[in-house]
Symmetry: C2
Subunit: 215 residues, 2 copies
DNA sequence: GTAGCATAACTGACTGGTCAGTCATTTAAT
DNA sequence: ATTAAATGACTGACCAGTCAGTTATGCTAC
């Protein structure tokens, strides 16, 4: 009845279980990315992970929980990385913004994680749980960081004071579009992320910057 | 043997056929938008259009062709509208850019058509035909127009000469993100398209404009 | 008009294949 | 020897696509 045993918290068995869980998560990402949630077959996930279908159900209760569990597993390392960016408070807002955007390009857009981004966009409306979770844990944090940088820039005089709605969205929009483009249209018209990044930063920083006499 | 008859090109019958085809296309958009391609049931499309399942197959050979036909049908009025924008060549590049972006916000983002945009992003990788068609017929035209405006702006001295890769994508990115946001996260954090549009235009025009002394 | 006929449009029960989820049995670890 | 992990054949629900049968439309002759 009582949960006495398990003196060793990381026995060989538990290590293997964890490894298998990760393998399943990787396989799930691969399969769901390839064909989307509805068309993905549990058998395919199992095969990709090198196990049988029954095993999948030892680790996840249902297809839906496999999907949600996969997204959450794949998100958590990103969250830790993001947190590590908040150091070094005495650099300019300009540099901090550049740094954050570069982080996003290299750690999300140029990785498997951009698939997560697309899956959230594709399947989000059918998985309100997940969309909400993603919004609460990823987007709102990212927004807070970008908004803080913009605020800092306004206070230091680097940026002009744009009170408007949706500024933060517009600042990062170029990056999201790059990610989507890579996944959907790159085969017809490829883009180079590095130089795209330069354009993005140039355009946005110039757009934000104070003392730009227009007209 | 010969195809002599059909003197009246728009008989009552043909009109009704066309009306039914449109009803099916509307129903298909509604159902595919709601649940995505794979999870959509032909029976649901039929019910939404007020016909039986068999009838759907009198108008479209397969689910896939229904989907592609729907996307193409829904795109064509937009293409005509876009073409109508190319008039009035002696306004400033700034005004033309504003006008084009406003067009996109009001005629695409704030309409059913944004669903098409999302479906292309979600299902595009599984329908290479469709993604290519969309790229060739919608995106490349849109790009050409925006690029022409930017070029004009550079020549007139309104905009600085940003040679970088992906400038056009970055200019319109804010609008795409607004559309995606509305469809996926608006319920958790709503955005107001009008003031979002103002911010977008302000940021981008300032970013493009010449004589902005940064650093 | 309208009766009769030909053809087009539509219907929905049915089929065959697919796949999420189960569980009795087998295999591996301790 | 005992317990945990893994298997894969099986089931039941679901659904794209079919087709024999039904209904509506238009046409011709009267």
């Amino acid at each position: 009845m009582s949960e006495v045993a398990e003196a060793a918290p990381t026995s060989r068995r538990e290590q293997q279980k964890e490894a298998r869980r990760l393998a399943l998560v990787d396989a799930a990402l691969a399969v769901f990315s390839r064909v989307g949630y509805a068309a993905a077959k549990i058998d395919d996930v199992a095969e990709e992970a090198g196990v049988s279908k029954g095993t999948v159900y030892l680790y996840f209760d249902s297809k839906e929980q496999l999907f949600e569990g996969m997204v959450k597993s794949k998100m958590s390392p990103m969250l830790n990385n993001v947190a590590s960016l908040a150091i070094d408070p005495d650099q300019s807002a300009t540099d901090r913004l550049k740094q954050h955007l570069r982080f996003f390009y290299t750690k999300v857009l140029d990785t498997d994680r951009r698939q997560i981004m697309r899956l959230i966009m594709s399947e989000g409306p059918n998985f309100p749980h997940l969309a909400e979770f993603y919004h609460a844990n990823v987007l709102s944090r990212g927004q807070a960081m970008i908004n803080a940088i913009i605020q800092q820039g306004i206070e230091t005089g680097e940026f002009r004071n744009m009170a408007g709605h949706g500024l933060m969205h517009n600042v990062v929009a170029g990056a999201l579009v790059a990610g989507i483009w890579k996944l959907v249209f790159d085969r017809f018209q490829p883009i180079d992320l590095d130089s795209y990044f330069d354009t993005h930063v140039d355009l946005i920083l110039n757009g934000l910057c104070a003392a730009a006499p227009r007209d």
